[in-house]
Amino acid sequence: NAGVTQTPKFRILKIGQSMTLQCTQDMNHNYMYWYRQDPGMGLKLIYYSVGAGITDKGEVPNGYNVSRSTTEDFPLRLELAAPSQTSVYFCASSYTNRGDQPQHFGDGTRLSIL
C-alpha cells in the first residue's frame, strides 16, 4: 500500500524558476493538503482540497498555486521561486472532513532556492 507519494524528494531551484511538486494518493481520500515545514516552526497549511475541482487557501498561500483534477492527484506549483520558499513540503490526505480523522502524510520534498 503506497499511501501518499511525493516527487521529487529533493530539488534545487534558482530564484525566479518555476516547478511543480507532485502528490498522489491511492487511498481514495477526498481531502488533500499541502504543508510547509520550516525548522522550529511546525507545519503551516498552504492549500487544501475537499474533492476534485475544489481547492482553498490555507494559512500561507502566497507564491503557490494548486489544482485538483482527479481524486488521486494534488500538485503544488511555484511560479517564481524565492529564497523564502526554501522549505520541506509535505502533502497529506484524509478520508472525510470529520475533524476526528487523522491525516496521512507523504515523505516530503526538500526544496532549496538559491
Partner: protein, 116 residues
C-alpha cells in the same frame, strides 16, 4: 482561533525510563487532539488522538496521552523509553467550533532523544 504550544524544544531521557512530552492547547469549543511522530527524512506518522470519552488515550508503539481539560493539556507519555523512540514529536489541535474545521494547527515540535 486555535493554537497549540509545546514548551520544550528537546527532551532527553535514559532508555528504560518513563518519558513525557508536553502539549497545551487553546480552542473556542471542544478540541480534537492528535500526536504525530516524525523520523528523519520521513513524513509525519499518526500516533494517537483524543476526540471524546476516556481522558487516557492509548496509541501506537506503547504511547499514551492524557487529556486534561482544566489544564488544557494533552501530554504524551510512555512508561519505558526505547532508543528507537528518538524522533520529532508534534502535537496538533482542531477546534470543533467555528470556521476552518479542516485545518489542523501544529505545535513547533519536540525533539526526543533517548540515551542508551
Amino acid at each position: 482561533a486555535q493554537s497549540v504550544a509545546q514548551p520544550e524544544d528537546q527532551v532527553n531521557v535514559a532508555e528504560g525510563n518513563p518519558l513525557t512530552v508536553k502539549c497545551t492547547y487553546s480552542v473556542s469549543g471542544n478540541p480534537y487532539l492528535f500526536w504525530y511522530v516524525q523520523y528523519p527524512n520521513r513524513g509525519l506518522q499518526f500516533l494517537l488522538k483524543y476526540i471524546t470519552g476516556d481522558n487516557l488515550v492509548k496509541g501506537s508503539y506503547g504511547f499514551e496521552a492524557e487529556f486534561n481539560k482544566s489544564q488544557t493539556s494533552f501530554h504524551l507519555k510512555k512508561p519505558s523509553a526505547l532508543v528507537s523512540d528518538s524522533a520529532l514529536y508534534f502535537c496538533a489541535v482542531r477546534d470543533t467550533l467555528g470556521a476552518g474545521s479542516y485545518q489542523l494547527t501544529f505545535g513547533k515540535g519536540t525533539k526526543l532523544s533517548v540515551i542508551p
